[in-house]
Symmetry: C2
Amino acid sequence: MVFSHAPALQPFVNRLASRSLLTDEEASAVLSLKGQVRQVAAHSDFVRQGEHVDHACLVVDGLVGRFGQSGEGARQITCLHIPGDMADLPSVVSPKSAWGLMALTNTTILRLPHAEVRRVAAKHAGVAEALWRDCVADGSIFSEWVVNVGRRDALARLAHLLCEMAIRCERAGQGDRHAFALPATQADLGDATGLTSVHVNRTLKELRERSVATMRSRQVIVEDWDQLVSIGDFDEGFMLLDGPSPRFSEVA
Amino acid sequence: MVFSHAPALQPFVNRLASRSLLTDEEASAVLSLKGQVRQVAAHSDFVRQGEHVDHACLVVDGLVGRFGQSGEGARQITCLHIPGDMADLPSVVSPKSAWGLMALTNTTILRLPHAEVRRVAAKHAGVAEALWRDCVADGSIFSEWVVNVGRRDALARLAHLLCEMAIRCERAGQGDRHAFALPATQADLGDATGLTSVHVNRTLKELRERSVATMRSRQVIVEDWDQLVSIGDFDEGFMLLDGPSPRFSEVA
DNA sequence: CGTTCTATTGAGGGAAGTCAACAGTGGTGG
DNA sequence: CCACCACTGTTGACTTCCCTCAATAGAACG
């Protein structure tokens, strides 16, 4: 059953509009995309690595992890997606999924057929440009995660992750940087930071004891933002938050 | 001085064409891009993190590292770029560079003004699509690096990196997977894998003693490809090498 | 109201880091 | 053409951060 998903799509349009200038026509073209709503149970994979997909998944509610797997089955989350994110936008352009997607908590997604997205992108160059830019923003986050996992110790890694999620939740209108939802287990955080759940536990304890941040019942409370930023060596430059880039679609 | 850079651009067109279908007109539009050739000395940065750039850098010859930095100055290379790669293609769409670029060896680059690239992308939707897809391919590699650095031990990390570079060099027509150039120091490899140069040294020694691969005078000799793949837990799926994806630019 | 996740804590081990010394290697200038 | 110097590679001894294993407590769920 297909009807207007505009309310579910609005956060995604907002996300696009934060980095790209969209005309009203383009914004409403995106808002009028048709798709199917799906519920995904906590801890279940809904896109497998290597699978060919013909739709993209917009996170409407919940939390999604994009992950890769090592041969021994160890999982590494490479990005977390919150409501308003298109978790596998790259698949629109490259339909064989090089990653898996899992729901970390009970999650609602909107499945948008590639054909739909492609049609809109083909018709509106400004939309194609915005989607391209959105992929670049995600790539920039992956890049920073390589730095995080490769060059920072456990305390800094977790602090960095919390900073990133704080800013992203704030911008998405889901709480603010001092209090936001992060419905992931300590094991999930370990998969995101390249640590074990045991070490995540000890590290969170240290952040708590230093009165920097506390995580309880899937909520993060940041008591000392500046210290969290300092411990996490966090510079938000990689998130590409400087406002819309000039559009070039119309240039002759 | 501006003249035809078609020979320098051809490898880039080949790279694009390996993942995207380009018409002859589109290919020649890319080939006719104007730019400036620059020499960059080994170990020098030529794009700084956070800098606003107005051109993209095509690697013509040599080896380039894309990197991020932690607060203590520790460098983490997030991607290596070989000839034919556009090292900072994402900047075309997001001109504030969230990463730095360094030459690992004496390198020749071709600086292509964003305005030029944007003009061609705006005129030829198929080129825009190909560039978007190229950014996605790079993003997929970042993602895999997160997995590599986060979930594999030193031996596997290096083996994985060698596999990746072997395939990429082979596809770019620079040697084959059993013998290719990798003009990086052991310290550089450490920056790429999140290890210290000392540990890279010990680990390369082990690969050598196991008769899997040898690195000497900036050349990698792979003696046992299958074992290298096995040790590195390498699955080339993430490189998006399955041939051109269908193009959607013309769809009404 | 048990069952099953999830969080917490301790003890011990191991992979990689740090520090330091020395050996190759390659480029440059006298 | 050789001598020097800076860079890169190699190896050893010691340290540390994080992992592994294991046991228990707490929370969520039916």
